[in-house]
Symmetry: C2
Subunit: 317 residues, 2 copies
């Protein structure tokens, strides 16, 4: 069984809180704000927040509001990212700006962000606001990489640390703080979240190239079309022989690639060994995450977090 | 002397805090985020936050960070509003999205908002997040009014309460809480901020039609071009004779009016008595604001707030 299926009760509690929070007027704005929140996300972040709270002796109920707040923050970044990246699809549905127009989509994102700070535990405000500042920095890096072909592995790691991993780190660290963790425990859980987040984004990049289009909920290879610099692309550019490197760069520089060009790029990614390289790296970060759990007492929550770390790189969507 | 000139020291402290907060990388993002913050705003909100803190016995230093946070929030809403309303000018300079493009402008706004929550006093998080949620609702109402010709005075008051007045209310209420106000004092200062904010927005609407273009920093009558429903427009539609009403509605429904059409609309606003009506209303809200100060001990800060209330409807920009 997929480990994430175990947390239906946690997801139900978080969903309830989100639904309660997102009732309001003007109706049009709240409908747009609810759209993506209720589009069937896996709620990895709230689950991690709640498990972190329990892993240090806290109760589920203490962390539900903050978990919901973090899911709202995550959704807010998705809505704004889709505008910036011109992505028309998200989780198999039209993105918010496609459905409700640009102004309402900007505002729906802003509203989710405000509501998150209304909802979260006061003790977590500084963790969460620091994380969202870094997410903005990470998104800016991600966009600026599109114009560049000299992005290094270190640049990429900084970008995904900020764009993706800090919010998972914020989720585990917040849960720890809410649950009354010792400083050592809070650090261990923050480290777990960060490393898990790095692996999570790498696996996302891999799935974006190799997964089933229907499961993915968006076109395979959309990162290639947008000129996104994943570790896979970076590693391929670094290691391919001159002729293939030139061919790949041409595809990555071009916007609006044909299907056969996308296929060719994916083949070059495989040939270069970059996809395997990226899988190996993701596995190392998962190991880091699991190792850090040793600082915690042996509980069912800790075991679940161990299994979630494995799940992150084994999942198919 | 303009009363606002008295607060150069408060503005200097707040500016310093904003500048310290807005140093970071990627450079491009932080440059965009700083642009409007340093474009010479009057910093009415931080000044009110600091004065409210002092009016209940607190010290300036206690409220500087939260004052700076509120200015960042205000600037965040301006950047996003300019995108939504397609406004190319702000404070006499090109708006952020004109200078740096849409994606960076969205992100610069998001960053300011995050930084605000990093900066503010933890005791004020709930006041501030509630206010920004209402600002989103107010902006949505404002946009939806553009398509409507049946907007009532009550609709308008709800819209400006949310879009403008709640942040001034949040500024005075936050200052009060930080300064250790009694419940009665905090309520009085919140009431002052709300009423001042209503008068402030009404005066803004008046100045947008009657002020000197250079002082205004944007074209006179831009509200007419955008079909914005100010109280002046609403009152004119309600009171003008049928022929003039029809003429006015035609101008308000059209986007991209000529200069002579804008002049004609402004003349109809004057003829209908709506500008005078709006001035009178603004004066009433200023009186409410001043009356509420009676609940506070007699201090220099309270006297200053009394004078700021008068200034709000006497100012020329």
């Amino acid at each position: 069984m997929d480990v994430m299926q175990k947390f239906d009760e946690e997801r139900r509690l978080v969903s309830l809180e989100i639904q309660k929070t997102l009732i309001g007027k003007p109706e049009r704005l709240y409908v747009a704000a609810r759209h993506l929140c209720l589009a069937g996300g896996k709620m990895v972040r709230p689950v991690l927040c709640i498990l972190s709270c329990r892993a240090v002796g806290g109760r589920t109920e203490q962390a539900v509001n903050t978990g919901a707040a973090i899911e709202l923050m995550h959704t807010f970044t998705l809505i704004h990212d889709d505008i910036m990246d011109n992505d028309d699809m998200r989780r198999g549905k039209p993105s918010v700006h496609k459905l409700y127009g640009l102004p309402t989509a900007i505002l729906a994102g802003d509203l989710l962000y405000s509501k998150a700070f209304e909802l979260c535990d006061p003790k977590t405000v500084h963790i969460l606001s620091k994380a969202t500042s870094e997410i903005c920095e990470g998104q800016d890096l991600d966009m600026s990489f599109e114009e560049r072909t000299d992005v290094s592995e270190a640049d990429y790691m900084e970008m995904i640390a900020k764009k993706t991993a800090v919010l998972l780190k914020a989720a585990t660290e917040s849960g720890a703080v809410i649950g009354g963790a010792s400083e050592k425990q809070a650090k261990a859980l923050a480290f777990y979240g960060l490393n898990l987040g790095l692996a999570f984004q790498m696996q996302d990049d891999i799935l974006g190239l190799t997964a089933d289009e229907e499961k993915l909920g968006k076109p395979v290879g959309s990162d290639i079309v947008e000129g996104k610099k994943s570790l896979i692309a970076i590693r391929s550019i670094e290691t391919l022989p001159a002729a293939e490197k030139k061919e790949l760069l041409k595809i990555l520089r071009k916007k609006g690639n044909s299907e056969s060009e996308i296929k060719r790029a994916v083949n070059l990614f495989h040939e270069s060994g970059a996809i395997e390289y990226c899988k190996k790296k993701a596995g190392e970060y998962v190991k880091n995450a699991k190792d850090s759990l040793e600082a915690l007492p042996k509980t069912e929550a800790r075991d679940d977090m161990y299994r979630i770390a494995d799940y992150v790189i084994k999942r198919e969507l």
